[in-house]
């Protein structure tokens, strides 16, 4: 059918679209608005609005996410994916801070402040120098450490199990590699909600 066949709703005006259109693309920064921010200004806003959860230097408070660290850890037994070690695109950082942070008042920061925070977090991760000014031109150019390690096409299925029916393994070889018994990680599943905090 032709566009508008039903005719329900209203055509969105350019002004309306401008008011809703907040997304920024990671790869090329498309959608980044005018404005700019320095690392210094970022440090100030960060101390005020972010440090309580993410730690003064991005080290994370409690179980809130770290924003730094983990560089070189991705092949370790306990990898630490962070902006510094894992994120492929810097404009995504602007986009996420803009849309989702600070957690209790999301999408309330000015574009300049989001630029400044982005600059600050990138600098905490040694991805930009202290003099870095974040804006729509500079951000897409920031080289992120893990940029080239993503495969964007799904290689699955990556297992090829055959549905064997009988004597599929030697019964004598069947043994447990792990059990959840006695690990004390599982909240109760009857009675009121469990509040267990530690392991």
């Amino acid at each position: 059918a032709e566009p508008g066949s039903f005719g329900y709703g209203r055509v969105a005006s350019p002004a309306q679209i401008a008011g809703w259109d907040i997304d920024v693309r990671g790869e090329d920064g498309a959608g980044l608005p005018p404005g700019k921010g320095t690392v210094d200004r970022g440090a100030d806003v960060y101390a005020e609005q972010c440090a309580a959860c993410h730690g003064t230097f991005g080290e994370g408070e409690g179980r809130f996410p770290k924003l730094v660290g983990g560089v070189g850890s991705l092949r370790d037994e306990r990898p630490e994916p962070t902006v510094g070690s894992y994120w492929p695109f810097a404009p995504t950082l602007w986009d996420y801070i803009n849309r989702a942070m600070p957690m209790s008042a999301p999408h309330t920061l000015s574009a300049d402040d989001v630029y400044a925070l982005t600059a600050y977090i990138l600098s905490l991760n040694d991805l930009v120098p202290n003099e870095f000014v974040a804006d729509r031109n500079s951000l897409p150019k920031v080289k992120m450490r893990n940029r080239d390690n993503f495969i964007w096409t799904d290689p699955r299925p990556d297992t090829m199990a055959k549905p064997c029916m009988n004597n599929c393994v030697n019964a004598a070889d069947v043994r447990l590699s792990s059990t959840a018994e006695g690990r004390d990680l599982t909240p109760r599943t009857t009675g009121p909600l469990d509040t267990m905090q530690s392991k």
Binding site: D23, C168, A180
Partner: protein, 400 residues
């Protein structure tokens, strides 16, 4: 006989009418109709609730709760027990103010009210939604000794709304458009990229769940349903759809919802929920009560379409028997299976293995680890083994 099980009413019947057959509720009058104009479960079912793992997340606002699969039957999850996954808590939205914008590479950008959306041709479908992190805690080792906590991030409902393709026809897709960005009205402004082909195939923009309006936790008044794809792309509180020529690489598809491999590379855009199954009885919450005849019960699901077959093993995968699939077997919906089992009282290792209509076979955790290591968090669709001890107790275990 007219004596009560419990307390004997003042006007109880003749003493000879023994043994007691009437309970107190049979000799009194109960609450009338519309006592609860909107009903709720029996008080004695108070334990059947969504539950969380408090130590798992920093705050309940960016967290998850699990469906009590051990107490559910059939393929429909009642709305009150559908699992939750929020990134900025549950917004309580005024539907009169909610709008959906569709724009970007379209001929005729639109701003739609809920009233507008309700007028489009309706479609109703039964589909599961699974968080790809379901079972994530068991990647490294058997951790959660519970069906609810190991598999409870999957639920299934009847969704009603409008096909996304209908809305996209109405705005007119420009030929350069290849991707859609879908965004929520929650504090997270949750957003994901979807290939246009999937949008035009079977995605639904829904306002009703199991007949009634969506629940707030499930995206009231509007959510996207992306059948068979990981929960996170089923954007709740849907407020915006933008068409573009490239994906967005939002935080939720780079920092999160990517799968880290042992070689340090990561897989992005792994949307599909591969075939998975689990035995729901017995399970850690529902042990066996002495030797005898039981019915093994379970659920299977796949993002690739319909379930073709489910096999069950009682001996840790040495031998398998094909279970019975229960009707209706619907595409991208939970499918129920059962198999009778006479338990002799000896230790057993029970497990189920699903094969979907593409021929894909559910792998063991060992097979998965061989490909993906144990740090990929998401998409653990491995065979679940339950250890049954001779006292009937049941534990979550993994096999070497």
């Amino acid at each position: 006989g007219s004596l009560a099980f419990g307390s004997k009413p003042a006007t109880a019947g003749p003493a000879q009418a023994s043994p007691p057959a009437d309970a107190p509720w049979s000799q009194s009058i109960g609450a009338g109709v519309v006592d609860r104009p909107y009903g709720r479960p029996a008080d004695t079912e108070a334990s059947v609730i969504r539950r969380n793992v408090p130590w798992l997340t920093a705050s309940a606002e960016s967290s998850v709760s699990f469906s009590p699969l051990q107490d559910l039957h059939g393929i429909i999850t009642p709305n009150g027990l559908f699992f939750e996954r929020h990134h900025a808590g549950r917004p309580d939205i005024d539907p009169a103010q909610h709008k959906l914008m569709i724009h970007g590479l379209v001929e005729r950008p639109l701003l739609l009210t809920m009233k507008d959306i309700l007028r489009f041709p309706q479609i109703t479908r039964i589909h599961f939604i699974e968080c790809p992190a379901n079972g994530g805690m068991n990647w490294r080792a058997a951790q959660m000794n519970s069906l609810q906590f190991s598999h409870g991030m999957v639920s299934c409902a009847e969704w009603t709304g409008v096909r996304l393709s209908t809305l996209l026809e109405e705005v007119g897709v420009k030929k350069e458009a290849k991707w859609a960005m879908v965004e929520g009205a929650d504090g997270a402004h949750m957003n994901r990229s979807l290939p246009l082909d999937k949008c035009l195939d079977d995605c639904l923009v829904v306002y009703a769940q199991n007949g009634e309006a969506l629940r707030p936790e499930q995206g009231y008044p509007l959510r996207l349903v992306v059948p068979g794809w990981e929960g996170n792309v089923n954007i709740k509180w849907l407020r915006r759809i933008k068409l573009g020529d490239k994906p967005w690489h939002s935080r939720e598809e780079t920092s999160k919802y990517t799968d880290l491999m042992p070689d340090g590379t990561s897989r992005g855009f792994t949307w599909l929920i591969d075939a998975k199954s689990v035995i729901t009885f017995p399970c850690p919450e529902k042990p066996l009560d002495g030797p005898g005849l039981y019915e093994i019960r379970g659920l299977a699901w796949t993002g690739s379409g319909k379930i073709r077959r489910v096999d069950v093993s009682m001996d840790g995968g040495v031998n398998w028997q094909t279970a019975r699939l229960h009707e209706p077997v619907l595409s991208k919906a939970l499918t129920k299976f059962t198999l009778p089992w006479r338990w002799d009282g000896r230790p057993a290792l029970v497990a189920s293995r699903v094969i979907d209509e593409t021929g894909y076979v559910q792998p063991t955790i060992a097979e998965l680890r061989k490909q993906r290591g144990s740090n990929s968090i998401y998409h653990n669709n491995s065979i679940q083994t339950w250890q049954v001890k001779s006292d009937g107790s049941v534990f979550n275990v993994q096999l070497a």
